[in-house]
């Protein structure tokens, strides 16, 4: 049972297409796992449509209409989008993890795993954007020293359990932390695979933002 969901405001921004690509990807993956938020997003899309498309608007000039219609009728069909049947599983340390649909469709963006420190592993996702997004794997009994975040960090539990000072989080739980929240995640009897996106402030150059990750303070303090 998922108990930690994105806020309504964040779901609204997601449905409007206003979140960064990295945060959108974490949201989309949570929504894959969460019927409750799927339903909410459908309702929000309806509301957004009413807000943006239902009002009476002045008609287009006739020549604009005709020009566009001609162009559309003459256009080549856009390429078909087939949801990639790519691997819906990833393997790490001999364990296999199931990927939710959005991640499975973007499995080719998942980079190599690297060992960070202690019992932590990381694989970056390359999404061609300035903000950073990583799969983070915590083995059993892993501990991350207390740290804060630069910018906003969204973490989604894909599989397993981790705790911090506030709560414990399980499959599908979505946690948003900003710079004011200190926390020290740890795992106990169970390992944990998460997807974490950091909304990098604009002044980071792309080279440095690559290094940013949910536990960046480990490397930067």
């Amino acid at each position: 049972m998922i108990k930690a969901h994105p806020s309504d405001a964040m779901l609204y921004q997601y449905a409007a297409g206003d979140l960064s690509p990295a945060l959108s990807l974490v949201m989309a993956t949570h929504i894959d796992m969460c019927k409750h938020c799927q339903q909410k997003v459908s309702e929000l899309e309806e509301r957004l449509c009413e807000k943006h498309l239902v009002n009476e608007s002045p008609a287009l000039a006739n020549h604009d209409c005709q020009r566009m219609l001609d162009a559309i009728f003459a256009s080549e069909a856009p390429e078909q989008i087939i949801c990639d049947q790519g691997p819906a599983m990833i393997t790490l340390e001999g364990k296999r993890f199931h990927l939710p649909a959005t991640l499975a469709n973007n499995a080719d963006r998942i980079g190599d795993w690297s060992h960070m420190v202690g019992k932590l592993w990381r694989a970056p996702l390359s999404i061609g954007s300035d903000d950073s997004i990583n799969l983070i794997y915590m083995e059993q009994g892993a501990q991350v020293p207390e740290h804060t975040h630069r910018g906003v960090e969204a973490t989604l539990v894909l599989n397993g359990t981790f705790n911090d000072e506030f709560d414990s989080y399980h499959d599908g739980d979505f946690i948003l932390l900003d710079a004011s929240r200190k926390h020290s995640p740890q795992t106990q009897m169970e390992d944990c695979l998460t997807l974490a996106a950091l909304d990098a402030p604009l002044h980071f150059t792309s080279g440095i933002s690559r290094l940013l990750n949910p536990f960046s303070s480990l490397f930067f303090r």
Binding site: C49, H52, L53, S57, I72, I81, I82, C83, Q85
Partner: protein, 205 residues
Amino acid sequence: MQSVSNHASQRKVMKGAQSDSAERAAQLLANIAETKSREAFSELFSHFAPKLQAYGTRQFGNEQTAMDLVQETMTNVWHKAHLFKPDRGSPSTWIFTIARNIRFDLLRKNKHRKDEISADELWPILAETNDDPDDYSLDSSILMQEISAYYARLPDAQREVVEKIYIEGKSQQEVSDSLGIPLGTVKSRTRLALKKLKELIIEND
């Protein structure tokens, strides 16, 4: 079946109450999907294009980009009407989500990052419901050597694209840039070429 659509087409054009207009729009989308009816599309266009333009103008503050949004959205509606599923929501919400996706991509277009994640990958509303799952498994499952004989039989335009992507390892965007042809054309040529290769392989198996 025929009498249903005759009945529907006798109704007056899309105005009036919202539920009426939703029903009408759904009927028009069905006509477009089944018969590629230009008449149906023109009616749908005159209903939605001004609304999309107003949305685009508010979002971009730029008339030209707003018109691009209208055109790209309605082009998808024309070609992908069969993907509208009446049981999943209203036609206007479906069209809005297409526009939302195009806006998402248009806002990032100028940065030109080749591997950038696109709205279609985040909200796959225009993905085909996959009736033929092995259609695309070809590129990863068959080695180039095995298909070289068939490869020579592709039309030049398709072979050129496949060569650059699968032998030289270029991205579709790079092929589009180097050949000076639209990205959509690169993608459709790739798709056609892979399909053709598959047919040749099955034929000669």
